[in-house]
């Protein structure tokens, strides 16, 4: 009996250790050497993007009921129009799951696109692993895969998306500036398992550590991306810590819940979110939410399209291309996004 129990403990320990090993080797696009922005790419490989006739991309996305993904889709079509304006025969087919959890459905969609023979796949996976086998099928047939934001496909050749770590840096820097670099801050984390939640939190805390900032993180808890949970959390913090000066939330939905708690307590606390959803913009205009870090999905998909077309034209792009993002507060909330990030459209030309 004893021996059996010992063996069981050993097995459990082995499983835990192997899990940790996998975790340590995980692909992290935020920390990859040689990552470029789209401006870097254009400077290095030239402004003009030559596009051959007959290219069809396959876009795989998540729930279009989410504003973020709808905007990403609009960006894909905006890029499609621009390529067509150059007189090239190009198109993109887009498919999306009905909810954000249909992992198998998304895999089927990807396989269908492989079978249809698209030129390349631009995928925003639900999880880190649900598209793995479909991606391998694509690669076997010589179809390159571009991982556009979200779940990370370690085997995909290219990753195009925002730097989640930098979200946290931008938020910490802004809060520090507003508070004269001193005061207590708290962090509302999303789902601890989510890459974006971990990286945003890490970026925020690292900025404070690396700049010897006077900001002090007195509490951090997760609220599972849920508005009500975030509000409850903030309400408890606020009445326990009268000196709390700012709360950083891993996304806007939670930040909007925290704003309600701050208003109810009539406290003077800065609230910063991430994502830049429409409701967050409205809240900033109304003077409630203080700031959000927007990663501009409309431009993210245009960058993704441009990068994929550059690869098709034989350019050797780096593994990771970081898409534009910026902190939005009351000062620039009404400025055009293109102006904030200094966006210029790609120049597509017909390949000879």
């Amino acid at each position: 009996m004893k021996a059996k129990q010992f063996a069981a403990v050993l097995c459990a320990a082995a499983v835990v250790c192997s899990g940790m090993a996998v975790y340590a080797e995980e692909f992290n696009p935020d920390q990859v050497e040689g990552a470029m922005t789209i401006e870097d790419v254009r400077a290095e490989f030239g402004e003009e993007v030559p596009v051959a006739d007959g290219i069809t991309f396959g876009g795989v996305m998540k729930s279009l009921s989410n504003e973020f993904w709808r905007t990403l889709e609009e960006g894909y079509h905006a890029a499609e129009d621009k390529v067509k304006e150059a007189g090239v025969d190009y198109s993109i087919v887009i498919d999306a799951t009905t909810d954000e959890a249909d992992e198998i459905g998304q895999q089927t969609m990807t396989s269908n696109m492989v079978n249809q023979g698209v030129t390349a796949i631009l995928a925003s996976p639900i999880s880190d692993s649900n598209l793995t086998s479909a991606v391998e099928d694509a690669q076997d047939q010589g179809i390159p895969v571009f991982n556009v934001n979200d779940g990370l496909i370690a085997s995909a050749e290219y990753y195009v998306g925002p730097n989640a770590y930098q979200n946290g840096l931008l938020a910490a820097e802004w809060i520090s500036k507003q508070l004269g670099d001193e005061g207590q801050v708290a962090i509302v984390i999303g789902m601890p398992k989510a890459f974006a939640a971990r990286e945003r939190t890490a970026g925020f805390k690292d900025w404070i550590a690396e700049n010897n900032s006077g900001l002090e993180v007195i509490a951090e808890q997760n609220a599972d991306w849920d508005r009500q949970t975030a509000k409850n959390l903030a309400a408890t913090w606020i009445q326990q810590n009268p000196d709390l000066k700012a709360i950083f939330c891993n996304n806007d939905t939670m930040a909007l819940g925290v704003v309600e708690a701050v208003e109810e307590a009539e406290a003077d606390i800065l609230v910063v979110g991430v994502d830049g959803i429409g409701e967050a913009y409205d809240s900033i205009r109304a003077g409630k939410l203080d700031a959000t870090v927007d990663s501009f999905p409309y431009y993210m998909s245009q960058v993704a399209t441009e990068c994929a077309l550059r690869v098709m034209a034989g350019q050797e792009l780096p593994r990771v291309v970081a898409t534009p993002q910026a902190l939005i507060d009351s000062e620039n909330v009404d400025t055009e996004a293109a102006e904030i990030i200094g966006w210029t459209d790609a120049t597509y030309v017909k390949a000879e």
Partner: protein
């Protein structure tokens, strides 16, 4: 008084455990017993408490309702839409109650009319109702709910107590009266205890189950409307996973999962215990990962208490025989 204690021994034990937990939190951080923090505990138990008292009705009849989190979201969305479009807040609340009752009645129909297993039937409506919430909103939150509506629930009475705390207490009192003082209550227990026997002794089983699911839906609707007042906006993803906390509160409070037993007082204390735990762990800053573990352990230990109490003699007898 003595009779009250002997009748509610189970509730008393859980209540003492809750006080013990509060004492531990207070030792670790004396600010836990500040009046404002006690208010926070009561405010944060409201949503779960109202959901739990509803689901307790379904559980007492031997059923379950997994769709309450989705009913909660739909009601929040519809009432938000109504108030934003100028409907009188009181009428909007009535509409919300009707929506909750209708969605609950549909669950009742699936369970009694189509004779589906409650778990499967409400697993189906859970997805169905969530889908409706997505379709209705297109995934976009409904925002800018007017204060005229929000103040009905969110406004403050004396000593900083918000109206929705009072609403919850009234709901618990009504539930207590229905369950212990009315014939319907006796029927609910009878159906859950032994459906065949209840049927033979003339209880209208179908009607009784309809009542349970309608009450459950209405409670979920009220919780949804309180959430709307508290947040000022409603979205399709609201309430995801809330059914598990409601079940936990009911179970800790002594509701038997197989049906036939459960009390309003017990469920109230169950929800209170979970709120004390949640707020306490935030106050003493327990790491989020550990909160899941502690919460899970507390639920298991609390259920084990019940087993120990109820079957203590039988349990001891079995041990002797071994």
């Amino acid at each position: 008084m003595g009779r009250f204690f002997s009748k509610n021994k189970r509730e008393l034990v859980v209540f003492l455990a809750t006080l013990g937990m509060a004492a531990v939190f207070t030792i670790m951080n004396p600010a836990f017993v500040k009046w404002n923090n006690i208010l926070t505990v009561f405010q944060q138990m409201v949503l779960n408490g109202v959901l739990a008292v509803g689901i307790m009705f379904a559980i007492i009849t031997g059923g379950i309702d997994l769709s309450i989190g989705c009913t909660y979201a739909i009601t929040g969305i519809c009432v938000a839409w109504c108030t934003v479009h100028g409907v009188n807040p009181l009428i909007a609340i009535l509409i919300g109650l009707v929506i909750g009752a209708v969605l609950g009645a549909f669950n009742g129909f699936l369970v009694t009319g189509l004779k589906l297993q409650p778990f499967i039937a409400t697993l189906g409506t859970m997805s169905l109702y969530r889908g409706i919430a997505y379709v209705v909103t297109g995934g976009i939150p409904v925002t800018s709910v007017p204060d005229s509506y929000r103040n009905i629930f969110n406004g403050k009475m004396f000593a900083g107590i918000r109206f929705y705390v009072l609403v919850m207490i009234i709901i618990f009192i009504i539930a207590y009266i229905i369950l212990s003082k009315t014939r319907t209550g006796a029927y609910l227990y009878a159906v859950g205890g032994n459906e065949e026997a209840a049927k033979l002794s003339g209880v209208n089983v179908v009607k009784t189950k309809y009542i349970a699911y309608i009450v459950c839906g209405a409670c979920a609707a009220i919780a949804g409307m309180i959430m709307l007042a508290s947040l000022g906006s409603a979205e399709a993803t609201a309430g995801t996973g809330y059914e598990t906390n409601a079940i936990a509160a009911a179970a800790i409070g002594g509701t038997r999962m197989a049906g036939g037993r459960g009390s309003a007082l017990g469920t109230f204390i169950g929800a209170l215990m979970l709120a004390v735990l949640k707020v306490g762990m935030v106050v003493i800053n327990v790491d989020s990962f550990w909160q899941y573990i502690v919460t899970g352990l507390i639920i298991i230990i609390a259920s084990y208490f019940e087993f120990m109490q109820e079957d203590f003699k039988a349990f001891m007898a079995r041990r002797k025989n071994k």
